[in-house]
């Protein structure tokens, strides 16, 4: 699997007109090798696996055995490879200019004597945009763990007046672990009452009260892949404005999901969902983009928003998460993770989106 990913990358490297790509982004390295330590560099040479090299430091010398490439042990991983590439026949060396810092670039220029450095941003990310079957299976497992955790929370009466946001967040995280997650895929958001109007609220000791909107945005990490889901419920019977806001967001979310199709522009998908909110005269209360890609990172390309670029492709995994926030009162966000497919998206987060009055 990793070998075939490196092979696919070689096509892009060749297309970029370079002899080799120096990969220093650790998520990209994980994607290409399976290595998950905190220090590594990978040289993908157009001449193939024998000409390619992996580098990490002494802490990981045994862990590096998962990487089926000749391995160099050196703490200064990227510089160690850069200083050798000329001897390996590289004249034009690509680097990840969207990842490498200005200072690190200067150091690379110093190390890679006799070699020209070329900006080649986003090559590995291009491959990562479309998930293969193994990746979708991991995403599915992560989404299943989150769904199961929320179902358990409901069943156990875990959403009750008197509990703190923090307690509910910890409860959700423990239940995701119980269902196979190694941990949450990001800091769990539980926001009750007026807090629900803050898109990215951190759970506090504030206590859930009857009549509150409770917004939960959370996900599970399984086999390195992230899930992302938001559900908003009401503690008790919904007030008129709560129901109205909820139904508006739900309609926008349905429209966004329905717009997911191979070939659809990310700006158009955002606009389709946003139009529903704008037609209700509440466009100002939808203060963020519609969604983002999900995979080895919780937020990755493609970006579905007003300022995005590009089109969707079958096999992309994305979120659709409109929100409407009434400052000082409360807000609603509904979010799913889906895979773009011909004939309609595959829904990975399957908890109901009907208004739940706990």
């Amino acid at each position: 699997m990793f070998g075939s990913r490196r092979s696919a990358l070689r096509a892009l490297v060749t297309g970029a007109g370079i002899d080799a790509l120096l990969v220093t982004d650790l998520v990209n390295i994980c994607y290409l090798t399976g290595f998950t330590g905190s220090n590594a560099a990978l040289l993908v040479h157009v001449d193939g696996e024998q000409a390619s090299r992996f580098c990490t430091d002494g802490r990981y010398s045994s862990g590096a055995r998962v990487v089926e490439l000749e391995t160099v042990i050196d703490r200064a991983s990227a510089l160690a490879l850069a200083s050798e590439v000329r001897g390996w026949g590289v004249r034009r060396l690509g680097f990840e200019s969207d990842v490498v810092t200005v200072d690190a670039h200067s150091a690379l220029v110093g190390a890679a004597e006799g070699v020209t450095l070329h900006r080649t941003p986003g090559l590995v990310q291009l491959l990562r945009l479309v998930k293969d079957d193994g990746e979708v299976a991991a995403l599915r497992a992560a989404c299943d763990a989150a769904d199961a955790a929320l179902a358990d929370l409901f069943a156990a009466g875990g959403l009750a007046a008197g509990r703190s946001e923090r307690a509910v967040a910890l409860d959700l995280e423990a239940r995701m672990r119980h269902h196979g997650a190694v941990g949450p895929s990001f800091e769990t958001i539980v926001a009750s009452g007026a807090h629900s109007a803050v898109p990215h609220h951190r759970p506090t000791d504030a206590v859930l009260r009857r009549g509150d909107l409770v917004k939960m945005d959370f996900g599970a990490l399984v086999d390195g892949y992230h899930s992302d889901m938001t559900r908003t419920v009401v503690l008790g019977p919904a007030a008129g404005w709560q129901r109205e806001t909820y139904e508006l967001v739900a309609a926008a979310q349905r429209a966004g999901c329905a717009a997911l199709a191979p070939g659809a522009g990310v700006v158009e998908v955002d606009a389709t969902a946003r139009a529903v909110v704008e037609e209700a005269g509440r466009g100002d209360e939808f203060v963020h983009g519609l969604g983002h890609g999900v995979g080895l990172q919780i937020h990755e390309a493609p970006w579905i928003g007003r300022t995005g670029t590009g089109k969707l492709t079958a096999g992309m995994a994305v979120t659709v998460e409109p929100g409407v926030y009434v400052e000082g009162r409360g807000g609603v966000r509904i979010e799913d993770t889906l895979v773009v497919r011909v004939g309609g998206p595959e829904l990975l987060t399957r908890t109901t989106k009907d208004l739940v009055e706990v």
Copy 2:
């Protein structure tokens, strides 16, 4: 507090010969403003608070109120500020060249018309090196939570043959939360038997067995600050080689801690502890640096190792963590978090370092 940190930074900005510093590193922004969202930029102008600006996007417009500076709401935070700086009297704009990527730098150059960009790496990190009283209090609370969790784990018989590494890791994390942590400060390491020879082992379903070395490297996150501690125990009576390795590492660790003093060079501190291992003829089995700074990041400057630079100063918070690893058999690491003080370091992680035979 944040105002006085920005004031201290202004002295460094002035010293660097620039009119303003564009801060884009989110940890540095948190240090300077208290803001903890995922998108922000901060312009620290030499002319003072009135001339300085903060920028984040619409998701955080209410959260941005913690920042006592004029705030711009714009998704392209760094570029939004860069495009306005000329109007704010900036001719020489510093940027964090150790953080800004090559591509982001190009975009900044395009946005900041009529302004020259200057590399000014590490200015905020210089301030962060020395912890103020509030920061030490947070570090102390984080270390206390980790100590208390491990004490509870021992008391509850949580280190027992038959339990998996993963179960022990989750147990430790839950107990740290119980003692006030918002979560672990990094992925908890529990490594038993031969796994303990892997410096950065990820917990597996492998089961602890009688006679195993069990290495636990873990920390708590409290108020944004991290703790870091490693203890290695034996399940049952220690074999001769286990005890010998343990006592060697403990002696090296004591030597390293004793060497922590204002004015001591980081390379010398590393060498002092390493000499103990080398004199036993086992220098090759100590494959990593001696320690690192701890604060808003789990790993930050200063770096205490063979290739570090600089000297210690009173108020720095650092780890001392020698390890000796016997591949295929097992390894021992002992790690504390301490604050460098005149008259001797303040020990923050206070769990015993005597050999524990569970």
